[in-house]
Subunit: 347 residues, 2 copies
């Protein structure tokens, strides 16, 4: 048997002795949120008794808020230049933050280990007051991590039911239903989907809603190809769908960039978008109205989403929790020319 190691005192030990959460211990030292004076005293007594203290350099700067929001992204930085969500969302966040003299610190990480280290370092060094958590994953480890760090955060997307963090997201299921139902009403029986990244919740969700809508009508769901949210992926996926034995007469794309790329493939295949193949996208990018035909799309106001996220963070930091905890923004379907008319007219 190896000799017993002396265990390092952790924030958990202090929390247990003081009878509070780890978050409360953290907050009692960083001064970012108000706790009753008696609680702070009890926590600091417990910390002293156990010989625990937060990192000194960190505490020196943490006395004052950092006036900075942290945004850690586990995705390819190149997506920044492609995904319309990011700049519009950031514009909304910044519109609110800059009015309040807050900055945003962005870090791209390669994996979960780097991600966790970044969260821990930023909190330990007092570099940020709160986090924006986006691109939700299954069994997302960031919620436990935030609880552990006692960090403030806003979630972009719909978190699991047992996560009690303020969250903002668009509800678009109704719009996807509207797209499919409209095509079914116009006589389409083979309705395809070019899906996003299957590793991301919103990529899978859009596919699932599309598939359920078809199943309600007993229509096949096999005209499905993965585009991964990228132009190159959409070109491949569209070619695969349209050169198959039974090509779809309508395609719902999980984002507008893929829809635009898909419409170019159609023109290369001598097919007219909106006439030979009905097309709808997702996002509502401004340039959709400059395409020929104009791109039908499920429009989400990402600037509004970002602004709301910024307001929630500032309120949380000021000790005013969000009510309701989950804030849903409605998307809306814009049936522009690419959505097409009746199949009878089309074929």
């Amino acid at each position: 048997m190896p000799p017993a190691k002396r265990r390092r005192v952790t924030i958990q030990d202090v929390a247990e002795l003081a009878g509070v959460s780890k978050g409360a211990v953290s907050r009692s030292f960083n001064g970012a949120e108000r706790l009753p004076a008696s609680t702070v005293q009890r926590i600091h007594d417990a910390a002293e008794q156990l010989g625990w203290r937060p990192n000194a350099a960190a505490r020196a700067i943490k006395g004052a808020p950092a006036h900075t929001i942290g945004f850690v992204l586990q995705r390819d930085p190149d997506l920044l230049g492609i995904d319309p969500f990011f700049p519009l969302f950031l514009a909304g966040v910044e519109r609110v933050l800059s009015d309040n003299a807050y900055s945003i610190t962005i870090r791209f990480v390669a994996d979960e280990a780097q991600e966790a280290r970044c969260y821990r370092d930023w909190v330990a060094e007092g570099r940020v007051d709160a986090f924006i958590v986006s691109d939700l994953r299954d069994d997302d480890p960031r919620f436990a991590l935030l609880d552990d760090l006692g960090g403030t955060a806003v979630v972009i997307g719909e978190p699991p039911a047992d996560v009690h963090r303020p969250a903002v997201f668009h509800t678009s299921d109704d719009c996807i239903d509207e797209v499919v139902e409209g095509w079914v009403a116009r006589g389409h029986t083979r309705i395809g989907h070019v899906m996003g990244d299957p590793a991301l919740q919103h990529g899978r969700r859009r596919r699932d809603v599309w598939a359920r809508a078809l199943e309600r009508h007993g229509l096949p769901t096999d005209a499905l190809a993965v585009g991964g949210f990228t132009e190159a992926g959409a070109v491949e996926a569209t070619r695969a769908l349209l050169t198959a034995a039974e090509p779809p007469t309508a395609i719902f794309y999980a984002n507008d960039v893929m829809a635009a790329a898909g419409m170019r493939v159609m023109s290369e295949l001598q097919l007219a978008a909106g006439t030979d193949v009905a097309v709808a996208g997702f996002d509502g990018i401004p340039l959709g109205t400059y395409l020929s035909p104009q791109l039908a799309t499920i429009d989400c106001d990402y600037v509004e989403l970002g602004a709301l996220a910024g307001q929630i963070l500032l309120a949380e930091l000021a000790g005013r929790p969000t009510d309701p905890e989950r804030c849903e923004l409605p998307a809306r379907f814009l049936a522009r020319a690419s959505y097409g008319t009746d199949v009878a007219a089309v074929r």
Copy 2:
């Protein structure tokens, strides 16, 4: 006469006593750049003699690099969601920074006073190791500010000749000449310009190069309207130019977003872009190839620009100054369908 106030000791006093620059004093305390040990000793002696010391909390954290690059922007945050430069440039910067575990902190400021305060605070609090300086203005106060703070920076754009800072920028004058010369060779005699924001150097430069090219041929430069780099501005500007007594037969837009908006105005006026009115833009946005006709454009690789800026910053921080100091990236003109053919064929 008011009583003489005792003047506070400043970094300038320490620099003068030690016979070094303010930047050297700053660097001797933050440890971010190596100085000869004897110089550091001389500076610290001078500081002690005068009773000067850098902010304690700042120094505590400044002992270690912040591994963060600062990006202060004096522009409307909403432009983030419109201007293709920003997300692509940021993607390039992040591609390099994330590989080196660096973050980027972004702050939008309303005016020069806020801007200067942000630079000073970030340096004093050790929040950033270096700055990205973009959107150059006339008599830009940021160069003196950086000298004062002893800060490391990379300039995006062409700084005045007396500024010795590493700089990266695209050279596009030749491309603008190529656009205008090509139209003149095709028989156009009224060539218009929808310019960007006259307050920004690159907005004025594109107009000036366009005007000089016309003047070389003795052609008029009055078909000029300000679009301000925005869609709404371009719609107004295009309408004004095309409904004038002598409308231009070709229009060079200072960016692609304005060109796309302009082409939609043309279609509303029953004019065919590329046939009735030749069109060229600037930026090389990916969606340009999805427009009908495809948008001719002066293509700049902003991802490459950002990556280069990131590399320069990391090299500077590692004590390896950039050589050459100014790094020019060539833009290239892509003469796609909207550029049109001969005027004879057009009219």
